[in-house]
């Protein structure tokens, strides 16, 4: 019997989320990054990640990040106007003129922020997650502090630094908060948040169940055959589209880009950078006891949740895709039962999930 369209859509969506989980499980954390830069065409995405649906989705989201970031500083938009007013006011105050070269190219990165995860003997549940957005300068500083040499880190010369300092500060204070809100809450970056959740759970599984059969078979083995994308040319397609955007610019406003002193048209504004999941493990805060706030959070989440059972197929050629079967949505009776159990469990609240699972 054919499932109703909504159920079929849920099943398909769940399969994608599980593919993200498996991809995150099998690819080492330090190879989970994408980097769109016109000057680094050989360093767009690690080869194996580029063959997967997750990698290609990450790259598409990164392209969107650049497109939105550039759009937000359009001088006729509300944010853009604030940004340019601030830049010119600071320049005038500091140098006595606004006829100074302004860097037209910024690198911007999305990184994992803190995540709170509730751990139980037989599972883990995400309570709170957040992503952060940062400029290249901050990203380099962070990587240096962590002792990492990450892809795409590219320093500016001291003279460039001086001329772009004002602009960067304005970006940091005016534009980045809007982008960070978009990344964490907006419809545009829904896919990135889906990937992040799957990645967090896979990372937890990889780190806490190293001896399990599944971990031994898949963890960090680049075994992606169940999660490869149907279109293996997508990485190049996205990159070409990005380069076109870089060359074209997102906007071409002469009044902003024409320099009346030199009578030159300055290059169009655009962004590079990427998404880097390398600090995912380090940013997870694991809790084993529920606070009252957690009870509230979890209670709200619980009302929405559905269960999906997945059998991972590990045949030699791995021909079969992981199958998922959506079970019945939780009923009102389930929720009432959960609420009763929460009350009984009082502080710990540890077993109600397993009790309810049929």
């Amino acid at each position: 019997m054919t499932p109703p369209p909504a159920e079929a859509a849920f099943k398909k969506e769940s399969e994608t989320l599980i593919k993200y989980f498996l991809t995150s499980l099998t690819i080492p954390e330090n190879e989970l990054w994408v980097n769109l830069s016109p000057f680094e065409k050989d360093r767009i995405i690690p080869q194996v990640l580029g063959t997967t649906t997750m990698g290609q989705d990450m790259l598409a989201q990164d392209y969107l990040l650049k497109q939105i970031s550039a759009s937000l500083i359009h001088p006729e938009s509300e944010l853009g106007e604030s940004f340019w007013n601030r830049v010119y006011a600071e320049m005038a105050a500091k140098f006595g003129t606004i006829d100074l070269p302004v860097d037209t190219f910024n690198k911007i990165w999305i990184m994992p922020d803190k995540a709170r995860l509730y751990e139980h003997a037989r599972g883990a549940f995400l309570l709170e997650t957040r992503l952060k957005v940062m400029l290249e300068e901050d990203y380099i500083a962070l990587q240096a502090k962590l002792g990492n040499t990450q892809p795409g880190a590219m320093s500016r010369s001291p003279s460039e630094k001086e001329t772009t300092q004002i602009q960067e500060q304005a970006l940091r204070e005016i534009v980045l908060p809007a982008i960070e809100r978009e990344v964490n809450e907006g419809a545009h970056f829904a896919k990135l948040r889906q990937i992040y959740h799957s990645l967090l759970l896979a990372t937890w599984y990889k780190n806490n169940h190293k001896k399990s059969l599944l971990s031994r078979a898949m963890a960090d083995n680049n075994r992606t055959s169940g999660a490869t994308a149907s279109d293996q040319s997508a990485v190049q397609t996205i990159y070409h589209q990005y380069v076109q955007s870089f060359e074209k610019g997102v906007f071409n406003v002469v009044k902003e880009q024409y320099d009346p002193v030199s009578r030159d048209i300055t290059p169009k504004k655009y962004f590079s950078g990427g998404v880097n999941w390398a600090q995912t493990s380090a940013n997870v805060i694991t809790v084993t006891d529920f606070s009252m706030q957690d009870f509230h959070t979890w209670g709200n989440l619980w009302k929405r949740m559905k269960k999906v059972l997945t059998a991972i197929k590990l045949s030699q050629k791995n021909k079969k895709k992981p199958s998922s079967t959506p079970l019945q949505a939780l009923t009102e009776a389930d929720i009432t039962k959960a609420q009763e159990l929460i009350r009984k469990e009082n502080k710990r609240g540890t077993l109600f999930l397993l009790t309810l699972r049929q």
């Binding site: 599984y205 060359e247 059998a311």
Partner: protein, 77 residues
């Protein structure tokens, strides 16, 4: 009929001849180069919220999925 068929074949031939393969189409859901992209409304997608391990079934995992908001045009699950 023949005229229509000829036009279709001609259109396909011209498309394949003059449009470079890498530029034939943009990746879906990605704004085209040179276009402004605006901020979007809040949206809560379906996400994996938890994972349960089955000690007796080492190759089975149970996922807790938050179905999220229904995208426009799709009824709530």
């Amino acid at each position: 009929m023949n005229k229509l068929l000829t036009r279709i074949v001609l259109a396909i031939f011209l498309t394949n001849t003059f449009v470079p393969p890498g530029m034939a189409a943009n990746v879906p859901s990605m704004p085209a180069p040179g276009t402004l992209a605006s901020l979007s409304p809040n949206f809560h997608p379906s996400i994996l919220q938890g994972v349960l391990i089955k000690p007796d079934q080492p190759l089975e995992l149970e996922f807790l999925v938050d179905p999220g908001d229904s995208p426009p045009g799709r009824s709530r699950l």
